[in-house]
């Protein structure tokens, strides 16, 4: 029984991490109908930014500033940094390709992915950097339920992911930016004719999506402890899977997809074998796609003839 609960906790944390990445993916896809393969690299950059903020505040063992302040700084700077880079990528690598076939934008995003990953190795080196979270945020601060320890960083992950999902849903449904996003997503030309600035809407979408990736990166550094240039590939893939399982373009779906994957991985490792955890995730994806092609929460859109 304890194993089951522990696996639930592990799965939920991992799932929320994937959900954060998936939310960014879903947003961009929803508005632009574009698969941004460079999204995972923004996550990696966020993890590095968080690491450097930690170093500049004195390093994990000797922080010169109070821990909550450092955490807030890490999240804020990573969000801003990733958002900045995301905007630049959108403006120079994707905007010129808006009218081109979608495979051109795909290849362009591949190019950006290579560029960012190699630039990270050039600037930061290939060695992984350790956050060493234990030194400033002990594992024992958190909830204790008998023999079970749920550390603060894990609780933080779940809280941030849930808050983000709620915030984004509110954004999309209630604000004018959200309305613009929905309009551009439904019919770009009509939206433009109605006076919505497509460029601005897309830019804002990228800002939010990339900032999310940056925050997820810092979160990953805190929970999983490493910042390394090869983070982008697997994170991108898993986040993408989560977005698709939940229904790409659908925000609560992204969260659900993330949780489904996280729990699937966790339970497969715990009860079957860690060897098959990735395979199980892919199997799940294929099953979902065959039974409900638009994802768990996605709406089947009838194609206009």
């Amino acid at each position: 029984m304890q194993l089951f609960v522990q696996l639930c906790v592990d799965g939920l944390t991992l799932g929320c991490m994937y959900a954060l990445i998936a939310l960014g993916y879903s947003m961009v896809y929803g508005v632009l109908r574009m698969l941004n393969l460079a999204h995972g690299d923004l996550y990696m950059i966020g993890a590095f930014i968080g690491y450097f903020i930690l170093q500049w505040s004195g390093g994990p063992t000797a922080l010169a500033l109070p821990v909550p302040l450092v955490l807030v700084c890490m999240f804020a700077v990573a969000a801003i940094g990733s958002a900045g880079i995301g905007v630049v990528i959108e403006r120079f690598a994707y905007r010129p390709l808006r009218k081109a076939p979608s495979v051109a934008a795909l290849v362009s995003s591949l190019g950006v992915f290579f560029l960012l990953e190699s630039a990270a190795i050039l600037f930061f080196g290939a060695q992984s950097r350790s956050y060493n979270t234990e030194s400033f945020l002990s594992f024992h601060t958190g909830i204790h339920l008998g023999p079970l320890n749920i550390s603060l960083v894990r609780i933080l992950t779940v809280v941030i992911a849930t808050a983000t999902m709620i915030g984004l849903t509110v954004l999309v449904r209630r604000t004018s930016l959200g309305r613009n996003m929905r309009a551009v997503s439904a019919d770009r030309e009509a939206a433009e004719m109605l006076g919505i600035s497509v460029n601005q809407t897309v830019r804002n979408t990228f800002i939010i999506g990339s900032a999310l990736a940056g925050v997820a990166g810092v979160m990953s550094g805190l929970v999983f402890g490493q910042a390394v240039s090869s983070l982008g590939l697997v994170a991108g893939l898993k986040g993408f899977t989560a977005a698709v399982i939940g229904g790409i373009g659908n925000l609560p779906g992204a969260m659900l997809g993330g949780l489904v994957i996280g729990l699937a991985e966790s339970f497969t490792t715990g009860y079957i074998s860690s060897t098959y955890s990735n395979l199980m995730v892919f199997g799940l994806l294929i099953v979902v796609m065959l039974l409900r092609p638009s994802g768990l929460l996605g709406k089947a859109i009838a194609e206009k003839v």
Binding site: V103, V112, I248, V305
Partner: protein
Amino acid sequence: MSSIGVDEWSSRVREEQSSASRPHALRRHASRIGWWPRLGVFGVVMLLLPHIGLSVYQEQVGINALLLALTAVGLNIAVGWAGLFDLGYVAFYGFGAYVFALLASNQLGQHGIHLDAFLAIPIAVVVTALIGVVLGQTTRRVSGDYLAILTLFFAEAFNEVTNNVDSNRLGGPNGISGVDPIHAFGSSITTPLGYYYLLAVVLVLVMAGLHLLDKGRIGHAWQSVREDALVARLMTIPINRVKLIAYALGAGVAALAGSIFAASQGGVYPISFTQPTLVLIYAALVVGGTGTLSGAAAGALALTVVTELLRQPNYAGDVFYGAILLGLVLTIRPRIRLAAMLGTLMVAGFAARAIVEAADPEWAAGPLQSGGVVRTLLGHWLIVPSSPTIPGNWAVVVLVALGMAATTTRGVVRDICIVGAVYAAAFAWEARLAAEPSITRQMLIGALLVSVMIVRPQGFFGFRRTAVV
């Protein structure tokens, strides 16, 4: 923006006309020659190339280029002609390679099965084509981007299986080594030159065969399915069967390439069939021009040669500086302005170096990475600090920033940005990029993909397609 109030058909015709009025010069010249003679010339050139004296390395590069061309041509069937998404293509490549490896090595059974290439390769092709049919079946229920995703994960599943499942037979991460070379007619192909010739011949034959198919009924069926699947179905084209054939054929070509790859390498390893390989095949196809056979082959050859050039430190420098100068020459008119900018750049460079040398010699004492002519030209012009790593990193950032600024500004500001960008480029290269050739190569490949897509999204040989909204 397309015209408002005009029906779709008219606006499409109008767009096609406007793009057709300035046809691609190369295509115009090429279309005068005819497809078959062009293929013949290509084949003859490829077969005669080794006679100018190629080293083993160049033959190997040739093999890589031809393998990439073969896989790109196969990918073109499903992606370019039938308009389907196939992000799992690399799994077919790997599947063919593994089947060949299992049939032509010591892996299975007591002493292994050592089938002749005449048997092993067709078996690999047929089995993989069947897998292609299985994958194609999934297209019944999904389409567009969902299809892309599904095929992507098929490739991931293949990777997981070859790495982790049944290590005794599939070899796990160690793969299968000791794969036989190609045996045929009692002799075997064991040298890179042999495989080069084999691949050249196979590529020409495959391209010829596919061209015939393309001009035939199935080719027209693919085109209809690509342009508008619903209309195709209404015109009684069996779209599911057509799609299945596309997948199966593409898988078969990939398996052929995979088998030859396995034989030439003497082994198969799961890591060869992962995302980076898929990216390369896609890049080759898209850069060359999706939807055309010549585009696929040309893109593959060009990409392989360019990435190999970038691997050689001397040539990488030449390519880098050459590309910059070329970019300047092509985009800045009139020539007077270009001359003025280059002049300002020279003077500013000399002045800056003189000032810095006078102020603090340490700052200019660093070594230049390039050799020969470039070194003598730049030696007195460029500042290279003696601990160049951090300034070099900053120079890369400055280069990117100024480059982006140059594309968005106009007039004098733009000229200043360009001058600054060129200086930053030279500085970044000498101080940092040339010292890390492998990393720089990856960055340049990424930059190349992005720039080619922006300048010519349809690829070099591709047709601009109008998407009907």
